[in-house]
């Protein structure tokens, strides 16, 4: 009896202590010695895994930039692969500190789930991929089609809305993992694969015969993809947000990982301020003064990250499009670093 009561008391104490769980995310990250980053299951361009298990890609670079800012070392990241269904729960529960997993920022997610959307590191839109043999030229011809989708995505909702708005019927076939979706499409379980356009292009190159399928021209939604953090820790949110801005700002200032040391010797006050070389820097973040320097030096600017992950330097060859800098007609824009 005594034992039972004792164990009940211990359990109570344990539960109580979790209630007063405090400490900032930054403290926890420093204590762990690594940023716990939630990423996609291997997904060409955004989260590639090489044969040694090393990760690279556009979403991976966000994790690395944050690690470079916090530790001055872009390799101090612990990656966790998450399916679409698991991702938000993993972030809410503290299993990861940062979610960089091509997730769409929406009102519901930003306000109802205890999460904060940082900003779009990739502007995307939902599209359709069909087999050439079906001879379909437009999404409007898809009435009655079987559609493969990944479950637990905004894609699933947009798809239903689009077919409803156009008075068409469809048979949804949902899988948990992206490669299952692709396989089902390849095997002919469905006529259409729908996803964000970036995913369609990267799925297409994993098909048995990539030339057998086409991406239709229609884009049916806005999909601003970007990192999420837990709500309620503003300090951490600002570290992540400005780490991403630093990459964009570096491109804007023409600083690359290759020319950064040379630029640092120059006299441009904007660049000096950005790199933390000028006294009276304006950043009030609990980070090393050279945090932005570390990001650009170790990860590169946004253009470098984009080109080697999904752009001309990759098999995907995606054009910058919406993801060009604001001055080149795109949407990537960083507030000034001052």
């Amino acid at each position: 009896m005594k034992k039972l009561l004792l164990s009940a008391a211990v359990l109570t104490a344990m539960v109580a202590s979790s209630a007063v769980y405090a400490g900032t995310t930054l403290d926890a990250v420093k204590k762990n010695g690594a940023v716990k980053c939630g990423i996609n299951t291997p997904f060409p361009g955004f989260a590639n895994q090489d044969e040694k298990g090393n990760w690279s890609g556009l979403d991976i670079d966000v994790c690395r930039a944050v690690a470079a800012a916090v530790f001055g070392d872009a390799t101090k990241v612990k990656f966790t692969s998450l399916t679409a269904k698991e991702r938000f729960t993993a972030l809410q529960s503290g299993e990861v500190d940062l979610l960089s997993r091509n997730s769409t920022g929406t009102l519901g997610r930003d306000t109802g789930m205890g999460l904060t959307f940082i900003g779009a590191n990739y502007y995307d839109g939902q599209g359709f991929m069909v087999k050439n043999s079906l001879n379909v030229k437009s999404a409007k011809e898809l009435d009655g089609a079987s559609v493969c989708i990944q479950s637990g995505t905004t894609t699933e909702l947009n798809l239903a809305d689009y077919f409803r708005a156009n008075n068409m019927k469809f048979e949804p076939i949902t899988y948990e993992k992206l490669d299952e979706v692709t396989k089902a499409f390849d095997e002919g379980r469905c006529d259409v694969l729908t996803s964000d356009q970036s995913q369609l292009y990267s799925n297409r190159i994993t098909l048995k015969d990539p030339a057998s399928a086409t991406v239709l021209p229609e884009v049916i939604s806005k999909e601003p993809l970007g990192p999420f953090v837990r709500q309620g820790d503003d300090e951490w949110m600002k570290i992540v947000r400005w780490s991403y801005y630093a990459m964009v700002e570096a491109e804007d200032l023409g600083i690359t990982s290759a020319n950064i040391d040379e630029k640092a010797k120059g006299t441009d006050p904007n660049i000096k301020r950005f790199l933390g070389l000028e006294e009276g820097g304006d950043a009030n973040l609990p980070l090393d003064k050279k945090w932005a320097y570390n990001i650009v030096k170790q990860v590169g600017n946004y253009a470098e990250s984009f080109e080697r992950s999904v752009g001309e330097g990759s098999p995907l060859k995606i054009k910058r499009g919406l993801n060009a800098l604001w001055k080149d007609g795109g949407l990537q824009y960083s507030p000034p670093f001052r």
Binding site: M1, L4, L5, A8, L11, T12, V15, A16, S18, A19, A84, K85, F88, T89, Q92, G108, R109, T111, G112, M113, G114, L134, L142, D143, G144, A145, S146, S151, G152, T153, E156, L157, L159, A160, D161, F163, R164, F170, E171, P172, I173, T174, Y175, E176, E180, K183, A184, E187, G188, R189, C190, D191, R230, Q231, G232
Partner: protein, 402 residues
């Protein structure tokens, strides 16, 4: 010197022993501790509950069950009840639940039939048949069910042709990658009479069986119950069906656009899941049936034939009723396993409760605590109902000692 206590002894012995103090009465003490324990557990549960609520609120995560009445906005491939994208999240719960129950129910029926057949084959005196059954059992039950599901879905299904060149039987049934398309029945209002006739025939069959049993017990005469009942159950509804003017039409499937329109399509996810789970569970049931039959002492069979019962009557009246006592409790746990294994369907995208409700709905609403709680509760209730039914059946079949 006289001890006052000693001198008083005879008196105290003669009276009723005085009440022990409250703390020395084991019954009362136990009661107090039990009450304390219940209060303690209650406080603990309340604490966990309020702590969770508090933390969810603090982190800005929506709580409560309001989400059940919000529109879901996503599609589901197999719905047994009317469902559109405009239906609520609450409705997705029932759609998923019914899909789970469909697989569990059909799986239990198929696994039982196949399991009994294989179990009896295992005891066959024919060497070949019993060996085939042995190989079947040993192969199937040693491969994890998830692999078997993936085998049917990923290895067998892609071998089928696409809908445009599907295998067809009499232009009515079509087998293709996207399932089995069959004509769907379209009923007219008068069809309700046929349904009543089926119900009537079942009641009649039950009464005939009761009467035949009564007659056998009082006069010892046999009555061909099986054949009579068969004629009643098939004959009566058929008669009524034609008398009311065949109020049933068929919706013949036709290939239009991408897929078959009309008719009824059994989705391949259901087929694969059902095949895998039925076969897997059947292997276990076969062994249970074999052990049950072998547990009946050989003397029983010999005694029955000494009394002049023919072999199949012996099986029906002597062996099976006694074997059932051994079989039923183990069968219960196999049924429970099958039901819980239906959640593996998520691996191939079968829209069951875990996939639809604890999957998509959870992700769209972000309310993990409520949704997982509801899902666990459902599996608990289904399992308890199955074991309650099997316990009741077991009690009925148990040996009545006279």
């Amino acid at each position: 010197m006289t001890d006052p206590n000693l001198s008083a002894t005879p008196q105290t012995l003669s009276t009723v022993p005085s009440k022990p103090s409250f703390w020395n009465d084991p019954q009362k003490r136990a009661l107090v501790f039990q009450v304390l324990l219940v209060i303690g557990i209650g406080i603990l549960l309340w604490f966990i509950f309020s702590n969770t609520l508090h933390n969810l609120e603090k982190r800005g995560i929506r709580t409560g069950f309001d989400f059940l009445s919000r529109p879901a906005g996503f599609g589901i491939s197999q719905t047994l009840i009317p469902y559109t994208e405009a239906s609520t999240f609450g409705r997705t719960f029932f759609v998923g639940l019914l899909n789970t129950l469909l697989v569990a129910g059909l799986g239990i029926i198929f696994a039982t039939i196949l399991g009994f057949a294989v179990g009896i084959a295992r005891l066959s005196t024919n060497w070949l048949i019993s060996r085939i059954a042995l190989v079947f059992i040993e192969t199937i039950r040693n491969i994890p069910p998830l692999l078997q599901i993936l085998f049917w879905y990923r290895a067998i299904l892609p071998l089928l042709p696409g809908p445009k060149d599907s295998m067809s039987l009499a232009e009515l049934f079509y087998l293709h990658k996207r399932g089995l398309t069959i004509p769907a029945p379209l009923t007219e209002p008068a069809f309700v009479w046929t349904l009543w006739a089926v119900l009537g025939a079942l009641v009649l069959a039950f009464l005939i069986a009761r009467w035949a049993k009564y007659r056998r017990e009082s006069t010892g005469q046999q009555f061909p119950v099986f054949w009579t009942v068969l004629v009643v159950i098939i004959g009566l509804p058929t008669l009524v069906f034609f008398l009311t003017g065949s109020p049933l039409n068929w919706d013949i499937p036709a290939l239009r656009g991408f897929n078959f329109q009309g008719g009824l399509t059994v989705i391949p996810e259901l087929t694969a899941l059902l095949l895998a789970l039925s076969i897997y569970t059947a292997a276990f049931i076969a062994e249970i049936v074999r052990s049950g039959i072998q547990s009946v002492y050989k003397g029983q069979t010999e005694a029955a034939s000494a009394l002049g019962l023919r072999p199949n009557r012996t099986l029906q009246l002597v062996v099976i009723p006694q074997a059932m006592r051994v079989i039923i409790p183990q069968l219960t746990s196999q049924y429970l396993n099958l039901t819980k294994n239906t959640s593996l369907g998520v691996a191939i995208g079968y829209p069951d409760l875990v996939n639809v409700f604890a999957g998509t709905t959870l992700n769209q609403t972000g309310q993990a605590v409520e949704i997982i709680f509801m899902t666990m509760l459902v599996y608990l209730v289904i399992s308890l109902v199955i074991s309650m039914f099997m316990n009741w059946y077991n009690k009925r079949m148990a040996l009545v000692e006279r």
